[in-house]
Every structure is written in structure tokens, then in C-alpha cells.
Amino acid sequence: MQTILGIPAPLLFGQLLIGLINGAFYALLSLGLAVIFGVLNVINFAHGALYMMGAFVGWFLLTHLGIGYWPALVLAPLVVGAIGIVIERTMLSRLYDLDHLYGLLLTFGLALIIEGLFINYYGVSGQPYAPPQALQGGYNLGFMFLPAYRGWVIVASLIVCFGTWLLIERTQLGAYLRAAVERPELVRAFGINVPLMMTLTYGFAVALAGFAGILAAPVYTVSPIMGQNLIIVVFAIVVIGGLGSILGSIVTGLGIGLVEGLTRTFWPEASSTVVFVIMAIVLILRPHGLFGRPRE
């Protein structure tokens, strides 16, 4: 059998694939966090809980209403986005004039409440969710076996991440958003309804989390604690990429997934710690993150 640095090649590629899949979810989630932090100045601790809700919406649609994966791929983000809009309008928007800490505490509390409610009704063991018919099976790539659904996860995540990047960096709407990050007051004085834009931004960013959730449902089990497991790593990724940096969060998300995969192959014990070691090193060498700019 072919080996690379003493590791059987299929094992190495298998771990890299798992890393890339995790990275695809990291990228989607850290992208949303970066957008929310940039525009609303809120550290959204509820992001993991909303991601979990995305998966549960998909599971619920299938089990109770018989609605399958493909419609759920659109419906779950819409439902989660709508919930986000309600959260922003009724609670978050009252905290913008206060310190970051209040937004963090509010969303942290919301995450605890949401996850607590789901644990109460569904326990922590998780619900199964099968991949759609069209994406069952897989491809033999010669050097490894690629399950079709996992390939789809990577493609879908890249498309959505790149689309979001285009939207923010290359459109007029994105220019309003970038300008509002710097000087919300002046953008409002140009005639833009900035509070409405902030509400829609939050809705959109948590819809990304909902999208990641339904995308994850066939990969991980649908469980109330699936977001908790992910969110701390995702925060570390946002810090490494640079708070508020769109490109930074996407690239770092995918990169950290790969680094974790490599670490799992060569030094399994360190695989869940490596991201925090990287975060510490980045914070020492580049306090604003790999792609970050100092805030004025």
C-alpha cells in the first residue's frame, strides 16, 4: 500500500476529507459570525444554537410533514433567518449603544435557552437524517473513496461562501454594508435605512447558520448539542481570520479544517487543541488576525 510519511495514503486522504468537510461548516458559520460582528458589532453566541435549529427544521420537515431534503435546503435557512429577524428586532437592537459584552451575554443566554429547550424535548442522543437519494453512494477517485454527499457539502459551502463574498465585496448593497461597518451614522445620513439593513444582515447571517445546519444533518446526527461542539472552534477561527473579515473567515475556516485533519493523522491527541494553539500564535504575531484590519 502506498504510504506518505509513513501513513497509509487512504487514511491520510480520508482525514483530509473529513477536515475539508469540517472546514466547509467552519467557513459557513464563521462567515456569518464575521458579518454580524462587522455590521452589528455583536458577538453572536447564539450562532451554534441557530445552526442546530437549521438541522432540526430539516429533520422536523421530513419526519412530521414528509418534506424532503431539497425543499428543506431552502426552507430551513428561511425559517432560521426569520427567527433571527425576530431576535434582532425584539432584543438585540436595544443593545447597540452598549458595550459588546451585553450582546454577547444576551446571545449566550439565548443559546442556553434554545439548546435547553431542545434537550428537554429531544434528549442529546440525536436523530438520524439520511442523505437524499440523489447523493447516496460515492465515487472511487483512485487514491480514495469520496462519498457523494460529502462532496456536495464541500461544493455547496464553497458556492454559498463565494456568493456571499461577491455580494459583500462587489455589489452596491455590499458597499452600503462595508460603509455602515465604518460609519453607520453617515451612511444613514445619505438616506439608507441602516437599522433595517442591520436587521436583514442579522437575518441573512443566521440563515447561513441554518443552511449549514441542514447541510450538516446527513453528516452529523441531528442533536441539540451539535452547535455547542462546533461554535467554540468557529469563534477561534473568526479570531484567527481577523474579526469582521469576510475573506479571512472563509479561508481560515477551510484551512483550520484541513489542519485539524492533518493533526488527526499525525498526532491525534492534539487534533482538538491545535486550533487554539494557532489562535494564540496568531494573536501574538498579528493581533488583528491574518486578514484583519485594525478598527478605527
Binding site: Q172, A175, Y176, R178, A179, V181, E182, R183, E185, L186, V187, R188, A189, F190, G191, I192, N193, V194, R293, E296
Partner: protein, 237 residues
């Protein structure tokens, strides 16, 4: 008062930032097509007056009439949509936007704004640097031109300019002055806040002097030469 119909009328305007009461009953009016300047020392309340008109202060009371409609309780975006544009003292050029993105940022609020080519004609420096560079890589003078240029596109007919000459070299100040004159010829109405009295004196049809948050005096263009002594005393120049 001018003989032209008032486009903006401010009556007994009070404004607060948090607990500090900054404006104590400001009164003045701007006629359609006029250039009016607000003069006064540092901290007199000139900038706050402009910000209060745009709705950018914590709290305000009194009356602000734009074309006869009361706007004192509107939000800044609604005020802008009526055709009032604001160019802040700090210029407010966005670092994460290119020069061209900065120029194209403010949405068109009314028909009749200047075409982009005409803005580039007014400020040729901007045309050379429009792509690639971030807006904040421009020189101070170019940033000021960009800050004025971008609000000409929107169709707003009433421009609030806060210290457009601050910190600029004399040759740039002259260029800005020529642009403001040209804008008046194009039919814009301009409310100008200035520290640079000589710049304002050459441009404005009328002047109001603000002190401690109230208008203490007013001068027409013709008054200025005869009353230069008392003006100098008021402004401490």
C-alpha cells in the same frame, strides 16, 4: 431675510448630546439658491447645528422646516431622502471602499443630480484616481473633493458643508471655492460652516454668527466691509 423663498427655516432649535445642552434656540433661514455661512469660534455650535438639521444629535427640539414641511422629528435617512445632503467635517471617506465606490455610495434620492462625468469635470483629480485605491489613500484635498462630489450625484439640492477648507493648502482652498461658486451657479443651495472667514466672505450671500449655541448676529455680503471690525472681534480673528 432674503427675498427668495426659504428652502430651510430653523426656529428655536435646541440640541443635546447626552446631558450636554449644545444649541440654545438657534434661528436662521436659507433661501432657495443662496449660499449662507454659519460663522463662529470653535465650540460655538456650528457643526452641531448642521448635525441637528440632519438628525444626527441625541435629542433636539424646535422647528426645522424644509420646503415648508417640519422635519425635526424625522430620522436621518428620511431627512436625506427629502433632498438634503451632508458633507461632514471629518469628510467621512470610507477606507474599505475604492474612490469610485465612495463616489457612487450615496443613493440617488431625487432626479436631477449631476452626472458622474460632470463631477469628474468639477474635480479632475478624482477621475485619475477613481479605481483601485482605497478612498482614504487620497490626499486631504482629494478626500474633501470626493466628500463633496459624492453628494452631488444624489439629486439633493440643499448641501450642508462642514468646514470644507479645514487643513487644506491655499491652492486647494481656492479650487474648492471655485467649485462651490460653480455649484451655486448650477442652482444648489449651500449652508456652509466655516472657520476660514475670508473663504466664507468671498463665497456666501449672507452670514450668521453663532456663539454659545445661539445666533448672535447676521450680515449680508454688503455689510461685511463696513462692519469688519466688529466681526473680527466676534470671531476672535
Amino acid at each position: 431675510m432674503s427675498d427668495r423663498p426659504a428652502i430651510l427655516e430653523v426656529r428655536d432649535l435646541h440640541a443635546w448630546y447626552g446631558e450636554s445642552h449644545i444649541l440654545h434656540g438657534v434661528n436662521f433661514a436659507v433661501g432657495e439658491g443662496e449660499v449662507v455661512s454659519l460663522l463662529g469660534r470653535n465650540g460655538a455650535g456650528k457643526t452641531t447645528t448642521l448635525r441637528a438639521i440632519m438628525g444626527l444629535v441625541g435629542r433636539r427640539t424646535g422647528a426645522i422646516k424644509h420646503r415648508g414641511d417640519e422635519i425635526v422629528s424625522l430620522t436621518p435617512d428620511r431627512i436625506a431622502r427629502r433632498g438634503i445632503a451632508y458633507c461632514p467635517e471629518e469628510r467621512g471617506i470610507f477606507a474599505s471602499l475604492t474612490v469610485e465606490e465612495n463616489l457612487m455610495l450615496p443613493p440617488v434620492v431625487q432626479p436631477g443630480g449631476l452626472p458622474v462625468e460632470e463631477i469628474y469635470e468639477l474635480f479632475p483629480n478624482l477621475k485619475e484616481r477613481r479605481t483601485g485605491a482605497s478612498g482614504t489613500r487620497l490626499s486631504g484635498g482629494e478626500q474633501q473633493m470626493l466628500a463633496i462630489g459624492r453628494i452631488l450625484r444624489t439629486g439633493a439640492k440643499l448641501l450642508l458643508l462642514d468646514e470644507p477648507t479645514e487643513g487644506l493648502a491655499p491652492v486647494i482652498v481656492q479650487q474648492i471655492g471655485a467649485s462651490v461658486r460653480r455649484l451655486r451657479d448650477l442652482g444648489f443651495t449651500i449652508l456652509l460652516v466655516e472657520q476660514n472667514f475670508h473663504f466664507a466672505a468671498r463665497l456666501a450671500d449672507r452670514h450668521y454668527v453663532i456663539e454659545h449655541g445661539v445666533v448672535v448676529d447676521r450680515y449680508s455680503r454688503d455689510d461685511i466691509n463696513q462692519r469688519m471690525g466688529e466681526l473680527n472681534k466676534l470671531l476672535g480673528v
